[in-house]
């Protein structure tokens, strides 16, 4: 077979691939547009209750007017800020706890049942405790965003530490390495993929924690907007907030996914 022929076959393959990708994408877009169109149509013809479900063009108008008069961005900013802080704190704290219990097998055996209990506990149920403890405001919301991810991070990262192939540890041991070196040279770098996978889970979890936290206490944020819209029966505002959350949460998730691809490329 000539190199030219091979090239031609490969080119055909690439063309086929591009075509199928294009089909998938356009179907996705079409599906979204059909969804919006149907929604709009059904609401305007009053087949579904426009007061409860609102409709896309009205939501867009609400979004635009709130964006222009500057009353929207502070809410978005607040929620994003709380989520990022809660997410980082939860992840960091979880990783630190995991490190400590990896360090001390005794402690890990002691803490095991407590971790199991803490993990099966619905963290949002702690809401009232946080409000009393941290006051009705930013701190409580962040604490909620953090609490919801910290235990699962601890469990995931710790099991990641334990799954590191013992022969890598043996390599460092036979070269004379102590426990600190084993951690720094093997355990930590080998679990970077696990850590990043945990980050991806935590982004979603922190959103849940922060929104619930805002439901309970806050004066600002997208969770507050949802509750406020609900109370004044402005479901256009509720729907708009939901749409914003969907977009921003997806962006954040993609950001972490990008980071993951960058940092784990050398492990594949």
């Amino acid at each position: 077979m000539q190199p030219k022929e091979i090239e031609a076959i490969h080119r055909d393959y690439l063309k086929q691939e591009a075509k199928s990708r294009c089909w998938v994408f356009s179907t996705q877009c079409l599906l979204f547009l059909v969804f919006l169109g149907l929604w709009e149509l059904l609401a305007r013809t009053n087949t579904i209750n426009a007061l409860i479900f609102s409709y896309p063009s009205k939501i867009w108008a609400q979004f635009w007017s709130q964006l222009v008069d500057g009353s929207l961005l502070p809410h978005v900013g607040m929620t994003v800020w709380e989520t990022i802080v809660g997410f980082l704190l939860g992840t960091l704290l979880g990783a630190v706890i995991a490190t400590v219990i990896w360090w001390s097998p005794f402690l890990s055996r002691v803490l095991e049942p407590y971790l199991v209990i803490a993990n099966s506990m619905p963290k949002v149920a702690l809401g009232p405790v946080f409000i009393v403890g941290f006051g009705p405001g930013l701190m409580s919301v962040i604490a909620m965003g953090c609490a919801i991810s910290v235990i699962i991070t601890t469990i995931n990262v710790y099991s990641g530490f334990r799954e590191v192939n013992q022969n890598y540890v043996k390599v460092v041991q036979t070269l004379g390495g102590n426990k600190r070196q084993i951690f720094r040279l093997v355990i930590l770098p080998a679990t970077i993929p696990t850590l990043l996978a945990t980050l991806k889970v935590n982004v979603g979890l922190s959103w849940v924690g922060v929104i619930v936290g805002e439901f309970l206490v806050s004066q600002q944020g997208l969770g507050y907007l949802i509750i406020y819209g609900f109370q004044v029966f402005n479901f256009t505002m509720v729907m708009m907030s939901l749409a914003i959350i969907a977009v921003v949460a997806t962006l954040m998730y993609q950001g972490v996914a990008l980071l993951e691809r960058r940092l784990t490329s050398q492990f594949k």
Partner: protein
């Protein structure tokens, strides 16, 4: 026990017994092992799987402390891992997140002896193994044989006096294995290292070793000891296989192994 310095062994095991303890049982891995390795000697340990060969290496490396008996290096009891002893595993276990060069410097980093001089020595070894042009590459880009050579350099870079080799050729294809045997053999000879090789391959043990210990299992103990004739001992492993007497020795080892496995089955 009167030890005269001139007859002091490099490695000496006397009445070593080791138990592995778990909640369900106490398993005796090796029992009453006596073994002497002189400086610069190349010793092979063969025996059926589960006869405690790897346990012995762990004891000599200081990864485990014997339940009873003594493990001495240069007449001093082994306490934990030390710079003196290098260990090579069945697979290379190179760190994918470090370049070849950084993998080779790993031991220097750990022991805090990374200087320009030691780095130069490590790179010189890399060059000796014909790996100089991949020093910036990452481990995934290398073949199995190359990776195992890097692992050897990583071990040798710390300049251990004793090298423990735990089936280092078993994961390689046959051709690579033969080539690497020659390379390891000549490198260790050249740098005058004392070495203990654990292997499943009987012909490998004869081709590489000065002496061969055959182990039986349940629990692991020395069943017999064989000396390899000078002609075989002194030629490179690849040629050793064609030396006169090689086949005879092979048959003897084979027979001993039959006895050992037969005895294990009889238990």
């Amino acid at each position: 026990m009167n030890q005269i310095p001139s007859t002091q062994a490099k490695i000496e095991l006397s009445h070593v017994t080791h138990l592995y303890l778990s909640t369900t049982r106490a398993f005796m891995a090796v029992r009453d092992i006596n073994l002497r390795v002189e400086e610069g000697e190349f010793i092979c340990l063969v025996g059926p799987s589960g006869c405690g060969k790897t346990t012995l290496l762990s004891l000599i490396a200081g990864l485990e402390t014997p339940t009873a008996g003594k493990v001495l290096i240069d007449g001093k009891p082994v306490r934990g891992t030390s710079r003196q002893v290098g260990y090579m595993l069945q697979q290379d276990y190179l760190f994918n997140w470090r370049s070849i060069e950084d993998n080779v410097f790993l031991g220097l980093d750990i022991q805090g002896i990374r200087t320009r001089e030691t780095e130069q020595y490590a790179l010189h070894l890399l060059d000796e193994m014909e790996l100089a042009d991949v020093r910036k590459a990452s481990p995934q880009q290398l073949s199995g044989g190359m990776r195992q050579r890097v692992a050897l350099v990583r071990t040798l870079a710390c300049q251990p006096e004793v090298l423990l080799l735990d089936e280092p050729f078993s994961a390689l294809d046959y051709q690579t294995k033969l080539k690497l045997e020659d390379l390891v053999f000549s490198t260790l000879r050249k740098h005058k290292k004392t070495a203990i090789l654990v292997t499943h391959d009987l012909s490998e043990s004869i081709a590489m070793g000065d002496r061969i210990y055959i182990f039986s299992r349940n629990p692991g103990r020395v069943s017999c000891e064989l000396a390899v004739p000078a002609a075989i001992r002194e030629s490179l492993p690849f040629h050793a296989r064609n030396q006169e007497g090689f086949q005879d020795l092979f048959h003897r080892v084979w027979k001993e192994m039959e006895v050992v496995s037969g005895a294990a089955k009889g238990n």
